[in-house]
Assembly symmetry: C4
Homo-oligomer: 215 residues x 4
């Protein structure tokens, strides 16, 4: 990977490889590690009390936990794919992008917490608001990474057109929908949940249509 990224785009400056000395592939591997651990920690949110006489009833009570597990596994999985796709389009990186990525990962690593809360308290607005807020933080810092990378010329030249059309705007839209779901959750937590599922289902179609519009 190292030789490929070294000889990569002829675009100059940024990167500061000597000043920073952290290899690109390591940052990606570190981000992957945080994703893999966060996605596997989700399971710890499904708690089983010891010495319960009627396990079946306990499990019925945990239906929310299973829903939150499936939702968050899907969300983190999708986020990981997007993150990967975006980083593979990068030719260089700089300190600001690394800082943004770290804040982004801090939101990603928070998902096991907000997901557990959503599983246990989906009927209380505050739990839904926190989950939406977490996802808003994730999508916003991701959209900022993309927008910044284009402005700072960090994207591989041959990737510029493909990525620009799709990634940045659709991510700002997702961030916006999560933001919009926060006031909804204050009055109707379940309606906010449905808004997210819609993002999940239509995500691909919206970004395709956006790409078509711009092309």
């Amino acid at each position: 990977m190292a030789p490929e990224s070294r000889s990569a785009p002829a675009v100059t400056e940024a990167r500061h490889r000597d000043e920073w000395g952290v290899e690109f592939s390591r940052i990606v591997a570190f981000s992957d590690g945080v994703f893999a651990i966060a996605i596997t920690l989700l399971v710890l949110a499904i708690e089983i009390p010891e010495n319960s006489a009627d396990l079946t009833r306990v499990l019925e009570h945990q239906r929310g936990d299973f829903f939150a597990y499936a939702l968050s596994f899907g969300v983190l999985g999708k986020l990981w794919l997007s993150h990967h796709r975006f980083f593979s389009a990068l030719g260089r990186f700089d300190p600001i992008l690394m800082g943004l990525n770290l804040v982004y990962l801090a939101f990603v690593a928070l998902v096991p917490f907000t997901s557990e809360m959503l599983g246990d308290y989906s009927e209380q607005s505050i739990a839904v608001i926190f989950y939406a807020g977490n996802m808003f933080g994730v999508s916003l810092t991701f959209a900022l990474q993309i927008a910044y990378s284009y402005r700072a010329n960090l994207v591989k030249p041959e990737m510029r057109d493909v990525e620009r059309r799709v990634s940045a705007p659709s991510n700002f839209i997702v961030a916006g929908i999560f933001l919009a779901s926060i006031p909804v959750a204050v009055f109707a937590p379940t309606a906010a949940l449905l808004m997210w599922l819609l993002i999940f289902l239509t995500g691909r179609r919206v970004s395709d249509r956006l790409a078509a519009l711009r092309a």
Copy 2:
């Protein structure tokens, strides 16, 4: 790895490397990470109460936990080996395979939960049913990945014959046995446990015999 997989099989289409931009080796590394974390989280299921006067009695009570730990470590270890073997036979991948793999990993990452439940409640049918259901989900999504990969021409040509004879049918058989153990568990949880051990012990022999029959 990248150059190897790029120049790999002459088979065309699928893959969509430009559209997806996620490198094959990263998907494998991510899957490995989820396996390694899930297998190491199994230990958290063996709980020790603080300030117990008689630790020996506590530990006797946890015999089920040790059995579940050993069983699930063995099962996840075997699954990891199979997953690896299968992915090393792949020449390409596509979005559908990646989606199937993510659902598969969601079942794998669930094992620490169902394993903890099995350790604490092996005498209650519902715990055995959930474990069997989890394993059914794992084996089914794995079998589907294999079947789909053959249909979509994602397997390296030189691997086609070797793998086809063995992998897919034996995985459908394992999925079937786990499915069959669910009704058994309703009436006799222990009998279902024994059915799984049989899979474990005879697994290799059955697939060898199947391969011989087909050859």
Copy 3:
């Protein structure tokens, strides 16, 4: 990575590749793994009681946990970047450096514990002292690794001047400030907290000034 480090600097001795047989890149990957896991485990410190009637009040009570999460994520993120930068400047390693690195990682992996304690008990001096002590341990063992590597000639020749000016002294300063914050915490825990934030904010500027002074 292997070929690069093998043919790397013409400096002799140390390394003992035959005697130790552990590849350099593996030590880095292992350290990265510990960092990624520790940073992701931080989230487990934010606990949510099940079956609480008023989740909003519970979350207000956990404000300290969120502060500790953000602080420790930032600290571990910065530490990881520094560790990486330093290791990429190394041409060789020896048993003593590996031992120091293991002690360093033991302090890194302790952060989820001291961070959880800080989140729950930031008004009690002992929690702040433990956190400061943990960070002192991390910065001291890191500074020792750097100092030792220069003495034992383990740094790549072309990196010697760049790194020497910046890394070692600024790390000893950080270790010193954490040490100084311990007596402060005895009387005023909050003042100690502010001292750390100052390190965080001024860290870069101080090391730049130091580098300028020496140049």
Copy 4:
């Protein structure tokens, strides 16, 4: 790594790369992952009760936990180094070695549990016995891996003499000392603890002396 191990020793058979299809480097990475996770999970054993009025007294009570953390971090760190050194001497692998390695990893991943128990109950014989038993399991399965690899001709020819003199016998000795500490722990748990520290301190010297004797 792949090309190196492919063209590696001219020794034939075993390996069964086609039949098994799991790459050597992946097995090493998986083992590394389990080690990194297990060593980082150790910290979860140091529990902090919420809402305690006097945290200082709580922490004094947890002295055993800190001792267990330091001991187990050191032990797992040493084990990881040995495991790595041994695997880097391997030219090939086969199903039996992989099975042994999986059992070995099951004992490694169990350490966070026995370590937590040791921290909480070091005055009760059973906790010390379990820890010794766990370590006996680890050292025995490691010694078996080494012994088997020599018998099955899996070690690189150029490494045979270096490794044989040192690794296998000293590992059987360590396994033996842990086994011997079990009856000691029945009557005097603290004496068993001291026996382990002796292994740790003298380990290197003993294996050097053994190597000298044989040479």
